[in-house]
Subunit: 229 residues, 2 copies
DNA sequence: GAATACATTGTTGTGCACATCATCGCGCAG
DNA sequence: CTGCGCGATGATGTGCACAACAATGTATTC
C-alpha cells in the first residue's frame, strides 16, 4: 500500500462516524442529488469494508430521513415535496429564534475567530462564486451559529432539520431557479448583520436576523419554482 | 402451509416496525429500565429472527438516543443526568406551545372520541392507580395531543423528545420520589382542562395548558430528587 | 501475601453466502 | 402488432460462522 500514515487504529465506532459524516456530507452538498441510487457494494468497497458495517450507516441515515431503502430495488436519496418542506421550514424558523432564547452563550475567542474566518470566506465568495463551495460555507456558518446555544437537544434537532432541508434549497440553486450571485450576496449581508449583532452581545437579535433570512430564503425558492414540485 | 391467519405476509419493513415499536415501548414504559443490558441473541430469538434484522432495530434506537452499544460489552438502555434532561425539557416546553401555533387542526370526530376515552381512562386511574398503566395512558394522551398539529416534522421531533424524557420521569415515579397518586390527580386535571379548551376550539390555550403541566411536572421531579443524579 | 500476566468467557462487530424481492426484457400466443 | 407470462438479473434482506474486544477469574511469580 501507499503511505497510510493517517490511518491510526480505527475503532469500529470511529469508522462508523467517518462513513456517516462523509455520506451525509455528500447528500447535503448534492454530490448525491435527491433521487440518486446508492450502491451498497460500491460504497462498501470505497470505504474498504464489507456491506455489513456500511449498512449500519445507511440505516442511521434512513432514520434521519435522508435515505430510503427498498427491498429488491435500491437505496435512494430522499426527495421531498414543497408542502412538507414548507412545514419543516416553519419549524426551523421557530427553532432558529429559540437558539437566541434557550441557553444562549456568548461566543468565546475560538468561536469568534471562526466567525471572522467565515465572514472572510463569504466576502471572497462574492468575487468567485461556486455552488458547492457556497453550500459548504452555508453549512459551516449554520453549524457555527448553533454553537451560540448550550442546549444540546436544540442543537441536534436544528442540525437534523437543516440537513433535511438545505439540499432541497441547494437543488434550486443548482437548477438556476434562483440566482447564485443573488444568494451569495444576500448571504454575505446575513453574515455581516449577524456578526454585528454578536459584536454588541445581542444574541437574540442575531437569532432573529437568522430567522428572517431563513424565511426569505424559502420564499425566494418557492417563488422561483414554477407550479408543480 | 398451516393456518397462519394472523400472520399476514410480513414484509421486512413491517417486521422491522413491529420490533422497533415493541422495544421502544418497553424502554419507555420501563420494562427495560435505564442501565439495563439487552441481549441481542435473546431478543432475536424472542422475535423469531436472527441477530441481523434485530441489530437494524437497535441501530435505529441508538440513533434516537435510547440505546448505546459497546463493542465486547453489551447494549445498554441509556440514562441521562439531570442537566441534559433539563435542557430537553426546556425545549419540549417551547415545542408544546408550537403545537398550538404551527398548522393547528381542530380534532375531527375520531380524535374527539379518542380524547373522551382518554378522559375516561384517566378518571378510572384515580380509583385504581398503577404505574405502568399510568405510563401508557400518559403516552397515549401525549400522542393524541400531537394529532392537533398537521406539522409532521414538529410531530416527529416532539415525539422523539418525549420518548427520551418520559422514561426518566417515570423512573422517579417508580422510585416513589414523587407520589403516584398526586401525579394521577394532576394528570386528570390536565386532561379535563385541555379538553375544555378544545371544546371551545381554543387550540392555543390547550397547548399552553400542556406546556404548563410539562413544566410543573419537571419541577416536581427535580424537587423530589435529593441532591445527586 | 500481593500484584501481575494470562487464559477464559461472553458480548458486539464483520464478512460472506444465500434468500427474497422488484424490475426488465424476451418469447409466445392471440 | 399487442398483450401477457415468465425467466433472467441485480438489488436489498437474512442467517450463520468467525473476528475483535472487554471483563473476569485464576495461576504464577516476586
Amino acid at each position: 500500500m501507499n503511505f497510510e500514515i493517517t490511518d491510526v487504529t480505527q475503532s469500529a465506532r470511529d469508522r462508523f462516524e467517518r462513513m456517516y459524516q462523509e455520506i451525509r456530507n455528500r447528500i447535503c452538498l448534492l454530490d448525491y442529488a435527491p433521487g440518486t441510487r446508492l450502491s451498497e457494494e460500491a460504497l462498501a468497497a470505497e470505504f474498504g469494508t464489507s456491506r455489513t458495517p456500511l449498512r449500519r450507516v445507511l440505516v442511521r441515515l434512513e432514520g434521519e430521513g435522508l435515505l430510503q431503502s427498498v427491498h429488491g430495488v435500491g437505496t435512494f436519496v430522499t426527495d421531498v415535496e414543497i408542502e412538507e418542506l414548507a412545514q419543516t421550514y416553519r419549524l426551523r424558523l421557530e427553532l432558529a429564534e429559540l437558539t437566541g432564547k434557550l441557553d444562549p452563550v456568548a461566543p468565546d475567542e475560538e468561536l469568534w475567530a471562526d466567525f471572522l474566518r467565515l465572514a472572510d470566506r463569504s466576502h471572497a465568495m462574492v468575487a468567485d462564486p461556486d455552488p458547492r463551495r457556497f453550500a459548504q460555507l452555508n453549512m459551516d456558518f449554520f453549524l457555527a451559529l448553533l454553537r451560540l446555544t448550550a442546549n444540546e437537544p436544540l442543537r441536534e434537532v436544528s442540525e437534523r432539520l437543516y440537513f433535511q432541508t438545505t439540499r432541497i434549497w441547494l437543488k434550486s440553486v443548482f437548477a438556476s431557479r434562483i440566482d447564485l450571485i443573488d444568494e451569495v450576496d444576500v448571504f454575505c449581508r446575513e453574515v455581516d448583520d449577524i456578526l454585528r449583532a454578536l459584536k454588541i452581545g445581542d444574541l437574540h437579535a442575531a437569532a432573529l436576523i437568522q430567522r428572517a433570512h431563513i424565511s426569505m430564503s424559502f420564499e425566494r425558492m418557492r417563488k422561483g419554482i414554477p407550479a408543480q414540485m
